[in-house]
Each structure stands twice: as structure tokens, then as C-alpha cells.
């Protein structure tokens, strides 16, 4: 019964708001796990990276020296789960001296004013 409801269920617009740097806390890694769950249920998933969250997408991360999982590689595999809408806030990049070339995956860079519209159109929020 429940399965049928899920199958026939409405597809909702999910937005994941990532505001934490990777590695120092577990938030970024956990967010990625939850993104994959929503993707498995074939929801309409968008990811937004603002504040320190933009650091999650920095190129060339190598966690060998701190002996943790290098989950940054997973961002490059998200398109296999049909998660293709990644948005990065321009103001956050600028404040950190970063630009599009510093990022490991294809993203759309938007000013906060545009991200605000995306948030307004979203139905389900996950904040990390």
C-alpha cells in the first residue's frame, strides 16, 4: 500500500542548503547521504551551496593525511543519480577568493537574489 503511494506519489521539489565546510564537522558528508536517499525516490533534487558550503566543492581535496573518507569525489557522481542541479552562491565564492575554476564539478553560479527565487519555488527544505 505504502509502496503504491510512493510510486504514484507526487514528485516534489527538494532543496538541500549546504552551509558548512567539509571535514571539520560531519554535516557536509551527512547531507550528501540524504541527497542520495531523495534521489533514490526520484524526487526533483536541487543543491545550493552558500557560505562555507562552497568549500565542499573545492578541487583537489585529498584526505589521506587526516584519515577520513574523501566524500568530495561523490559530487562528481551525482549526475548518475539524476542529481544535476547544483547552485553556488556568487557572494560566498567572492568572499573566499574562489571562482568557478576552483570547483571540482559543473555548477551554476548565482547571486543570492536568484537563489532566493529558487528557495521560494522549492517545497521541501533540508538544511545542513
Amino acid at each position: 500500500m505504502e509502496e503504491q503511494e510512493l510510486e504514484s506519489g507526487k514528485i516534489r521539489k527538494f532543496i538541500y542548503v549546504n552551509r558548512k565546510a567539509p571535514h571539520g564537522t560531519i554535516y557536509a558528508h551527512e547531507a550528501l547521504e540524504v541527497v542520495l536517499i531523495a534521489a533514490a525516490f526520484e524526487q526533483d533534487v536541487s543543491l545550493a551551496f552558500i557560505d562555507d558550503g562552497v568549500y565542499q566543492l573545492k578541487k583537489g581535496q585529498n584526505t589521506d593525511g587526516i584519515a577520513t573518507k574523501n566524500f568530495s569525489k561523490t559530487f562528481g557522481a551525482l549526475d548518475m543519480y539524476d542529481v544535476e542541479k547544483l547552485y553556488v552562491e556568487k557572494e560566498s565564492l567572492d568572499a573566499r577568493g574562489l571562482s568557478e575554476e576552483d570547483l571540482s564539478v559543473d555548477v551554476e553560479i548565482l547571486p543570492a537574489s536568484d537563489l532566493k527565487k529558487l528557495f521560494n519555488e522549492s517545497e521541501v527544505f533540508f538544511n545542513f
Binding site: A21, G24, T25, D52, K58, G60, N62, G65, I66, G97
Partner: protein
Amino acid sequence: MLHTINKSPFEKDSLTTCLRYAEDGASILFIEDAVYACTKGTEFEKIIQDHQENIKFYVLGPDLEARGLDNSNLTNSIEIVDYKGFVKLVADNEKTQNWL
């Protein structure tokens, strides 16, 4: 005196507070998310430069690498140390204060 900071300067004001308390001749070591304070093109570049005459700044290499950063991203004259260097800093200083 050795001061260590482990939080992102964009999230917490540990660096600002540490600098208010650090005396001339002190050392500051950035670890974990605090390594972002050492990067060029941020508001913290100038803050560090303004203190480099009196304070020596260090950053933990493995934490930089984990975050995709290297020497080319750093504000000038910040020394990268490995874990052995971290231990040596602690041993060489009589006291260590951690700013969380």
C-alpha cells in the same frame, strides 16, 4: 605561547579574539576548518598581514590538503607544518591555548 584555532573564521570569531589576546612573539597555528583563515583573497588575508610583524603564523599541512588547498592559496609568510611540526610547536612553547 602557542595559540591553536580550529574553526572557520567565516563561522566563528575565534581568530579575532585570539589576536586580541595574543602577545608579541606568540605563535598561532591554524588547524581543521581554521585553515581557511590562511587563504588569499579573503578578508582575513589583511588581518593576518597586519599582525605578521609581531606574531608567527603556522598552518597544518594535512588539513590544507584535505580541503584542496596548498601553498599557492596561502597568504604570504605562513609556514606549513606537518604533524611532527605541530608536536614540536607544542614542545617548544611553554604553554598552549586552544581557541575553539
